[in-house]
Structures are given as structure tokens and as C-alpha cells.
Amino acid sequence: MTGDEREQRVAAAAAAALQVPGVAFLKPGLAGRLRASASALARTGKGPDRRRADPTAGVRVRQGPPWTAEVHIVLQRGHRALDVTRAVRSAVADSFGETPVRVTVTVSGMV
């Protein structure tokens, strides 16, 4: 089904983007991030576990052909915005396999 395929591609794209070094998270939903940050810090002394919040927030995929994907990321300090967005673009394109896709990446914030 078309909807299922699109959802699968969203999930794959989001997972791929999150693996890129320098991506803190995909455009955050604030309430979820607050809880995740507080409990993660209290438990481990480290930052939030990326997997706990909605993993697909910040990724939009338009059914193709032609397929397009829009990704909003929050950047980690110490990483160059251009390099990270290029890597995210590659990772998301790779997640589509053989299917051509036009990827747009936007840095919406930094932490």
C-alpha cells in the first residue's frame, strides 16, 4: 500500500539521519525532549537517548515518483553544519536504495 510504503521510507530516512555524527536529534517535540533529557541525565549523566522520543519527527517524505524527502535536524556543537547536512543528505538518499529521491536538509537549531 502506498501509505505503508511512505511510512516505511520515513522511518528508514529518520533512522539513517539519526546515525549521522553531529545530528543531535531531528526537529524536537519539546515536551518529549524534556522528559527524555531529564531522565537520561539522571540515570547516566549523559544526554538523551535518541531512540526514546518520536523517531520520525522532523522527516517528511512525499510519495513519488519523483520521491522527495525533507529533513530538519538539530545540530550538535562542534560539528560543521555543511558537512553534517551533506552527510544527512547522503544517508537519507542511501536509505531509499535504488529509488531516486531529492533530499532537502535544514538545520533548525543547535545544542
Binding site: 553544519a81 555543511l82 543528505r89 533530499v103 532537502t104
Partner: protein
């Protein structure tokens, strides 16, 4: 990458568009417009909810929510903010959000070894994220003209301000980043929507500072940060000194990189007098 330090006349104080959101229909040809950023179709209506979280809100009295928050942050004395019930409520909600964040962070038990962590700093960082979500500005291009990579103005401005404040005696103020003034770039076809950007930064400086050197120093810090940390192509960097404050500590090396320990603008040192000095690249 090379910065084109073209000459152009000093701008008046009203030369900067103070719009919080890009103004459609007024951008010069070739300027970056969010309307030109690819948008999704009807079938993504369900996804709109996520994207709309970042849109600024206009209160019934006509004020923008982000303006109210910013004025509250800076302690501005606009009487409307105190008298208007909508603005008062918005300010109260901001305080409540900050308190809630602090409570959430503080209520989590530590991991038993007695090490606490800095809730104040964490709260500030979280509130930073909230503000960035609310008022992102326009998307700015990263990299080459053929790449579809962007950074929101508010995020880039954060980097610019931090670079300026890495210098002793410098407090960063308003930063706007956008397309260069129309008359200083050749006319571009509408389909060339990416163009090198123009950074405009206001700073307050110590009265011990040699103005020209500090402006040049700030410009250089900004140029390096935009290149090293962002990878954004910049056509010109405008530094405007909008305030000069009395600095009692004359042991510091003003204008040199170092620990910026004065904190944010409004540290308690009153300006001795302000006038707008625009030191452009010439």
C-alpha cells in the same frame, strides 16, 4: 572561501527589516524565500502538525509572541506589555515554562553518588531551544548553489553572536542574516534562489576598545565562524557598534580572544552613551 568585501554606504537604523518572519513579495530577485523551499502536498497534512510547532503566534492585541518573550528577557519597559492582558498572560506562561523545565530537571533523583548537575545551565539551554523553535527566521543556504542544504537564520545567528562574544569587551546584539542588498549584486534570475548571504550584527563594546580594531576583529571572528562552523557562503559582514559601555577593568586586553566573562548584554554596566557607528568593509 573568499569574502567579497564590496563597498556600500552606511545603512540607517531603519535600513534593517525588523520583520520576524520573511516578508513575502518584498524580497529582491534571487533572494531566498521560504516559499521557494520545496513544500509537501496535501497528503502530508498530518505532518503539518509537527512543522507548525515552530510558527510564531500573533496575540489578539497584535503583538507577536516571540516579541513579548524577547522583551521580557531584556527587561524592556514597554508599558503595553504590563497593561495588556494578552501580553501579561504570555509573559506569565514563559515564566511558567521556565519553572516547569527547572522542576522537571530538579525532580529527577541523582544517580546516588552525590553528583548533582547544573539545572540552571540546562534550563537556559532548553529555553534556548524553545525560542529557536518559535522564531526561526528564514532558511539560509549552505554550501554550493546546487546543493539543497539550509540553516535557519536563528541558528546561524547564534553562531555569529557567539563568535563576536569570544572577544573581550564585546557584547553581541541583534543579528540578521539574509540576501545582500539588491544594488550590490547583479540581478539574478528568479530561479537562482540561492545567493551568498549578508550578515548584519550589532555589538556593544567596552569604552576601552579601539573601535576600528574591535570591529575588524569581530568581523574576522564572524567570518571564521561562518566558514568553519557553518560552511555558509557570505558576501559581506556589517558590524554596527550600537552601544559603548563603561569598562572599569583596564587590565583586560580589549578586542582580544579570551574568556568572555561579562555575560550577556545588560550585565549592569550602563552605556556611557550610544551612537550608531557603522564600520563597513571598505
Amino acid at each position: 572561501m573568499a569574502i567579497n568585501d564590496g563597498t556600500y554606504p552606511a545603512h540607517g537604523a531603519d535600513g534593517i527589516q525588523d520583520g520576524l518572519l520573511p516578508q513575502e513579495g518584498t524580497a529582491p530577485a534571487g533572494a531566498i524565500s521560504p516559499a521557494e523551499v520545496p513544500t509537501m502536498g496535501e497528503e502530508d497534512a498530518a505532518m503539518e502538525e509537527i512543522e507548525d510547532e515552530g510558527v510564531d503566534e500573533r496575540l489578539p492585541c497584535g503583538r507577536l509572541l516571540s516579541e513579548v518573550w524577547e522583551a521580557d528577557d531584556q527587561g524592556a519597559g514597554d508599558p503595553h506589555l504590563r497593561e495588556c492582558p494578552h501580553c501579561s498572560t504570555a509573559r506569565a506562561e514563559l515564566g511558567l515554562l521556565g519553572d516547569t523545565v527547572r522542576d522537571v530537571l530538579a525532580s529527577e533523583p541523582d544517580d546516588g553518588d552525590g553528583r548533582g548537575w547544573d539545572t540552571t545551565a540546562l534550563t537556559a539551554r532548553v529555553m534556548d531551544v524553545v525560542r529557536l523553535e518559535l522564531r526561526p527566521g528564514r532558511p539560509l543556504p549552505l554550501g554550493e548553489t546546487t546543493e539543497d542544504l539550509w540553516i535557519m537564520e536563528a541558528a546561524a545567528a547564534k553562531t555569529v553572536r557567539a563568535a563576536a562574544e569570544s572577544l573581550e569587551g564585546v557584547h553581541a546584539g541583534s543579528c540578521r542574516i539574509g540576501p545582500p542588498p539588491e544594488q550590490f549584486v547583479p540581478a539574478r534570475a528568479p530561479e537562482e534562489r540561492r545567493s551568498p548571504t549578508h550578515v548584519q550584527l550589532e555589538v556593544a563594546v567596552s569604552d576601552l576598545a579601539p573601535l576600528r580594531e574591535v570591529a575588524d576583529g569581530v568581523r574576522e571572528q564572524v567570518r571564521m565562524a561562518v566558514d568553519h562552523e557553518l560552511g555558509m557562503d557570505v558576501a559581506a559582514i556589517d558590524i554596527r557598534i550600537t552601544d559603548i559601555y563603561a569598562d572599569e577593568d583596564d587590565d583586560e586586553e580589549i578586542g582580544m580572544p579570551g574568556r568572555a566573562d561579562h555575560g550577556r548584554t545588560g550585565s549592569g554596566r550602563p552605556p556611557v552613551g550610544g551612537w550608531e557607528v557603522t564600520l563597513d568593509d571598505r
